[in-house]
Amino acid sequence: MYPSRFRYEAPATIEEVIDLLHDGGGEAKVLAGGQSLIPLMKLRFAAPELVVDINRLAGLDYHRVDPDGSIHVGALCRHADLERSVLLSSKQPTMAEAAPLIADPIVRTRGTLVGSLCHADPQGDWAAVVTALGGYVVAQGRDGRRTIPVDEFVSGPFQNVLAYDEIVVEAVIPPPTGTVAGGYLKLERRVGDFATAGSAVALELSGDVVLRAGIALTGVGASTINATNSAAVLTGRALTSEVIGEAADLAAVAAQPKSDHRGSAEYKRHLVRTFVERILTRVTETQQRAA
């Protein structure tokens, strides 16, 4: 498998990247980790005229927690960095649980969270996780920077709302207002398999009470599904088994899966429900152990 011909540029500054994208007039693609783009180009499902490699940009490989508690992930921060991150394992359980489940260990060396968000694969894990966390991306274009909430950023299967000459420089998880809890579960039949279905749950708690909840779903719709109704029933309440059941049911309702060789629509709904229930139940078990 061999890609079609394209022009390749690897500029050193974001401004140059944006200029190149602008000149590319919509026929250009940004190359970060390349773990989705290059296979697509090899299969010739993608044939951009210009590839703008951003790997030479300095200072974008960070992930950090700011003093206010917000988490920032730069455009060149690799999945592997997040997987090994002590910061995430202590501060952000949903991301920490998702990171090792992205693709496979070798792909994680190169692939990036921001690239995964931009690729907007409905079966991509990070979009669900960042959506559940109420995150946003920071996009930069010729007119400067703007922020876009992730659930608005992904506009359809393999589509985002970026202008053709804009680039995402970082993804941000806003500061939590309470104790964070949550998790990410998905069914994959083998390491590196696309999710049959997955559920991301992000909670902020004050004692037993949920201050904020986010639930988002992987692989059960044309794009990542933000299960807002499901999250809403948790807000302001304690995680009793009734509340958990209600949220899990509503997550299943929010899912819009299609039947395919990975499973029937009904089964995928069932998985979504099961995963939400299991994550929330696990949170209550942790609470009970702590108490």
Binding site: D104, R189, R190, T196, H261, G263, Y267, T274
Partner: protein, 795 residues
Amino acid sequence: MTQALDEIKIGGMGASRRRVEDNRFIRGRGNYIDDIVLPGMLHMEILRSPMAHARIRSIDTSKAWDIPGVRLVLTGEMMAARNLAWMPTLSYDTQAVLATDKVRFQGQEVACVIADDPYIAKDGCDAIVVDYEPLPVIVNPTQALATDAPVIRDDKVNQHDNVAFDWEVGDKEGTDRAFEQAHLVSKIKLHYPRSHPSPLECCGSIADFDRATSKLTVYMTSQAPHIVRAAVAMVAELPEHMIRIVSPDLGGGFGNKVPIYPGYVMSILASILTERPVKWIEDRSGNLISTGFGRDVYLDGELALREDGKILAVRMKTTSDHGAFFADAQPSKFKIGLMHSAFACYDIPYAHLSARGVYTTKAPGGVAYRCSFRVTEAMFFQERMVQAAADDLGMDQAEFRRINFVRDDDFPHRTPYGFLTDSGQYAKCLDVGLEAIGYAEFLKEKEEARKRGRLLGIGISTMTEPLGAGNSREYDILGIKMFDSAELRVHMTGKAILRTGAMNQGQGHQTTWAQIVAHELGLPADDITVEEGDTDTAPFGMGTYASRSTPVAGAAVSMVSRKVKAKARKLAAHLLEVSEEDIEWELGRFYVRSARDRGVSIQECAMAAYSNMPDGLEPGLEANAYYDPPNLTWPFGCYIATVEVDPVTGVWDVLRVVAVDDCGVRINPMIVEGQIMGGLTEAYAMANMQFITFDAEGNCVGSNFMDYLIPSAWETPGYELHEVVTPCPHHPIGAKGVGECATVGGPAAFVNAVIDALKGTGVRNIDMPLLPDRVYEALTQKHDVSGAPPVRTDN
């Protein structure tokens, strides 16, 4: 030298000798097809059909020719002009090399482009415009056999339907009578899904036609280079001595590299036309969608049972889906391979099998995927039928098998379908397995777990299978009898070179063949070079598949060593100045019977063969041997798996796997165990995740490794291996085949375990692969989930 040799120290039989071939592989110095570069070499890429069934209205290649670097574009029309548009399959059918009239499966070869580099060749393929007229698609036997079904093979003069063959074997009347007397008839419908061997290296070839000498050299990924040479001679009408086929290191085969593929033929013609070497390296989707698949067989199975659990008769009816061309690689006499080897380990008086093969608009193949010609299906069906029967009778799984086994003192034994088995200790193998897994304790644990809502299950699979075709009376490929060969030349200093007609693809022939010679002659294994795969130098052989190398080529290695030893004995008599009758042999040395100290080493005999031979004795120390085995070998395997099923999601995890293999005498135990673990993993893969299926439009689902899942180290369970040794009575060193045993016997162990975990829910069957959603469906709907893996849709 006066001491007899320590056989293990010289790397003889029974030594877990470290592999010779590893020295190059661990350094990245293997020599696989894509590693070979010839001067002036061009590169070929194939354009494949996106449609499953369509008439070709036109092919416009003009834009491809315009691309700088494109040297040649071939279409079916151009092949036809040279009488090469069609080629014979290994099952006496024909297969299109490049489509002329219509395409008959998605991925069929439509054109190819030869260019300076593969990137440009691919650009060329993209520039070809093909106008297709879609035709109705047929993706399963039911559609194929419908009365109004379009005839897929309208290229064949007398073909008016989609039936590829009807075939039967066994005693129909006797079987019918036995069923009438049955206390209980246990019935089950099963499907063995289409699977693909997908060795990690895809197929490929480099054809190099030398106009000056008229010699054609083809480097190719073939498990059977001599068969290819014969076929090329016949198809391309080239003289056989002007064809040299070379199989370099193969990155796995598993049956996928037995057939002759259109790509090979195209590269040959392209080299003849361009007068330059032409390399074709298949990509993974090409490999998965067009080359030889395995299985895709439906079964209606019935067992006639006596009240006490004795099996009175077997009735099997199979319907197999062969795709667009009947291209099974199998002995020509047996249309559904050795399906009738089923139930060989059980003592059953009557059996009947009727088999129907059909054409569909799917890729051709039906290769023996780590299998002796449909034996994998046979043993899977057998062990699923056995479990269902035991459950129907309310009998214990192990006990039901035990009372039906052929007894140790009952050999040779005629199987219900007519094979002759010759050795085994079936009950002992089962006992070793049950002991290892802790059968009784697990059954208790299972009951306890059940009370707490956990679903545990245990699955047993026991089978003997026929490995090592032929004998030549019954087995042939395209009329060529199935024997094998070896050639041994001992140099003057006692070093040697051995060549065989087999073809290694990971089994370690370079290592083990030398061990057999070491065993026979006492030459240290390290002193013996082993070569295979070059038809200009290797003796004629049928290649490596169907676990036949040790049973046939390995036997030839023994026999050729014995011939060399016989001549060495004459040389020893000369050196020791006694008559041959007064000489005795111990490993590595002849000595005078009456004076043990007086002896000569095999190396001294070798030197004498070139420097001090007696009058009248032909110089040199070498021989060749062709070995036609008197029978197949019959290894036995007992595989036991325990699993836990998640009652909520249907996901199942393997807890333990115990394998007890009786493959006779083990030449290199380390390598044998490696084969068994590899085989178990393919069994697990097929039971769990690995399958190819087709949607209603004939699109192949499983056309790349994103959808065609093969397990990684993470999912793959650990294995506990045990052995029982019953030497093969007719093999010169008592060995039996082993390479595929675990793949053949393994799948039923996993499936039986999951079904066992669901016992009591009314579920009798879930067909492979046991995808979580299929297990979930069975659990929640409390019904069987059978048939080909569906591409589910919402309408």
